[in-house]
C-alpha cells in the first residue's frame, strides 16, 4: 500500500555538489525500484546548526517528499545509516496529518456554530443590558 512520506537529511558540509546528488539519486533509485514516485525535492543548501554535529557547525539540508510502499524504507534506512556523508536523517509518514486535519475541521465547524449562536445571544442581551447599566449608575 502506497503512502506519503517525508525524508529529511543533514549532509556533511564538506561534501561536494556531486556527492549530494549521488545521495539523492541513490534514494530516488530505491524508490523507483519499489514503483514509487518522488513528488518534491527541497534543497535548502548550507545552514548553521543550532549545535555542532560531528564537530561541524554547518550542514546541507535536503527534504524529499515521496509516495512509496513502506517496505522500501528498510533499504533506504540502511543506506543512510551506513553512509558517512549523511549526519542525521528523519523519516515521517504524512497520512496522520490528514486524519488529524479532518478531526480538527469537524471540531472547528462545531465551534463556529456555537460562536454564531453566542453572538446572536450577545446582540440580544446587549440591547437589554444598557438600561440595567444606567440603573446601576443612578444607585451610586
Amino acid at each position: 500500500m502506497k503512502r506519503k512520506y517525508e525524508i529529511g537529511l543533514i549532509i556533511n558540509p564538506e561534501a561536494t555538489e556531486e556527492e549530494v546528488r549521488k545521495i539523492i539519486d541513490t534514494i530516488a533509485g530505491i524508490i523507483e525500484k519499489a514503483k514509487g514516485s518522488i513528488e518534491n525535492i527541497d534543497e535548502w543548501g548550507r545552514r548553521k546548526l543550532a549545535f555542532p554535529i560531528q564537530k561541524h557547525k554547518e550542514g546541507i539540508y535536503v527534504f524529499i517528499n515521496t509516495d512509496v510502499v513502506g517496505a522500501a524504507f528498510l533499504s533506504i534506512e540502511r543506506r543512510l545509516k551506513l553512509s558517512e556523508k549523511v549526519m542525521r536523517f528523519v523519516i515521517l509518514r504524512l497520512d496522520d496529518r490528514l486524519k488529524k486535519a479532518n478531526k480538527l475541521t469537524k471540531k472547528w465547524r462545531r465551534l463556529e456554530r456555537i460562536s454564531r449562536k453566542s453572538q446572536e445571544i450577545k446582540e440580544e442581551s446587549m440591547t437589554n443590558e444598557k438600561p440595567k447599566a444606567r440603573e446601576a449608575k443612578n444607585e451610586k
Partner: protein, 96 residues
C-alpha cells in the same frame, strides 16, 4: 455584603476595586494555532517553535502559553524533531 460595599465606596481606589479591575481586564488565554486554523505543526517551521521554548531550551507548559492540549501534543513532538535536526537547541543548564 454591606461591609464590602462600604469599603469600595469609602476607600475609593484601594484594594477592593483593584482586585475587580484585575479580574475584568485580564485577557483570557487562547490557543494561537486554533485561532489561525493551523492543522499540522511542522518541525521545519522552527521560527514558530522558538516562541514556545525557553532560552535554556525547555518546552513551555501549555498552562503558560495557553495552547490547547491537542496542539500542545503536536508542538512537543515537533520541537523534539526539530532538536534532532539541529533547528533548536537541546536543554542546557542555566549559566550564572
Amino acid at each position: 455584603m454591606r461591609s464590602n460595599q462600604n469599603n469600595s465606596t469609602t476607600s475609593g481606589s484601594s484594594n477592593a476595586p483593584k482586585y475587580q479591575k484585575k479580574f475584568y481586564f485580564s485577557r483570557r488565554k487562547y490557543c494561537v494555532f486554533c485561532k489561525d486554523k493551523i492543522k499540522f505543526i511542522d518541525y521545519k517551521n522552527y521560527k514558530i517553535l522558538e516562541n514556545f521554548v525557553l532560552e535554556t531550551g525547555k518546552i513551555l507548559p501549555a498552562r503558560v502559553t495557553g495552547v490547547c492540549s491537542y496542539h500542545q501534543k503536536q508542538l512537543s513532538k515537533a520541537i523534539k524533531r526539530a532538536r534532532h535536526m539541529a533547528f533548536l537547541k537541546f536543554v542546557e543548564p542555566k549559566r550564572g
